[in-house]
């Protein structure tokens, strides 16, 4: 279900591991009003979740604790930044911006599995534990689950890439290497940001 096809966004050597990096260069692209927008969105959604719970009860209100309200705003900002980056290089950034937002959404789908783990821990542990302990445990459960599922998917993706590469490198029956082998390799090279 998760449409993880980074395509042109994935630039990495075939079969190599993806390294998680902390990159502060992206911060320079963000304007002050973009931070303000997220802050306002966060505040509004939190207040809204509380109001819905008050009006319709905790069973309906609880659904909105996993409401993706902030997602459209975040995806729009990602698309805008990627588009600007490409346009600065003199190219059209429309396609790249959209793909970047799509890749981000695929990551969010994985994160939502962690969100379910968070909810499960709060549901089962909060009544018998201190609030701080239950919330720290639940946040850790979100992080560990999300990262584990992400790592698992990366491993599957890497193995599939290696298999594809081996299939391309296998010599044809007449024993002569075909040019398509080399074309295939470069066509399969992907870039990761």
């Amino acid at each position: 279900m998760v449409g993880l096809r980074p395509r042109s966004l994935v630039r990495r050597a075939e079969g190599s591991r993806v390294k998680i990096k902390l990159d502060t260069s992206g911060l320079g692209q963000s304007r002050w009003y973009e931070f303000l927008l997220r802050f306002a969105f966060g505040g509004v959604v939190t207040a809204l979740a509380g109001l819905i719970a008050k009006r319709f009860g905790p069973e309906i209100g609880g659904l909105f604790l996993a409401f993706p309200a902030i997602f459209p705003a975040t995806a729009t900002l990602i698309e805008k930044h990627e588009k600007q980056k490409k346009e600065r290089a003199g190219k059209s950034g429309m396609e790249r911006g959209r793909t970047a937002a799509g890749v981000d959404a695929a990551g969010a789908a994985i994160g939502s599995i962690g969100l379910a783990a968070f909810a499960l821990v709060v549901w089962l542990r909060l009544p018998a534990s201190r609030t701080s302990v239950a919330l720290i445990g639940a946040t850790l459960a979100w992080f560990v689950t999300s990262v584990s599922v992400w790592e698992f998917r990366e491993t599957l993706w890497r193995r599939a890439r290696i298999r594809r590469l081996h299939a391309l490198n296998r010599p044809p029956h007449d024993g002569v290497h075909h040019n398509a082998v080399h074309h295939g390799r470069s066509a399969n090279r992907r870039s990761h940001e």
Binding site: M1, F35, L63, V103, G107, G111, A116
Partner: protein, 108 residues
């Protein structure tokens, strides 16, 4: 105020991390939940929040469907971002309420 701070903090972390699929995990961070739960425990108590968390489990399944559909539409169908991300909110709503209704029916 608390909601804004927690959401901004997780969004900022997402901005700093690479690759993009990993940063995307933070798009489904429990930011709204953390802020709401802290405030609700103080006002309504732990049992109330526990019931909310049970429903949140269904909401997160709807979130999974939402994010998967958005990702697929953006990458395969090449549709415009804002209409896709906004209209799919309706899908989340239908899915979350549908799951909640189904659970109510099964639980009797």
């Amino acid at each position: 105020m608390v909601g804004g701070i927690v959401v901004s903090a997780f969004a900022l972390l997402g901005d700093l991390l690479k690759p993009k699929t990993f940063a995307g995990l933070f798009g489904a961070a429990p930011s709204v939940a953390l802020a709401t739960i802290v405030l609700t425990v103080m006002k309504q108590g732990k049992e109330y929040v526990s019931v909310e968390a049970r429903s949140m489990l269904l909401g997160s399944l709807a979130f999974f469907l939402y994010a998967s559909v958005v990702s697929r539409l953006l990458m395969r169908r090449k549709l415009s971002l804002l209409p896709v991300t906004s209209l799919a909110i309706g899908l989340w709503l239908v899915c979350a309420l549908g799951l909640w209704y189904a659970v109510q029916r099964v639980a009797g």
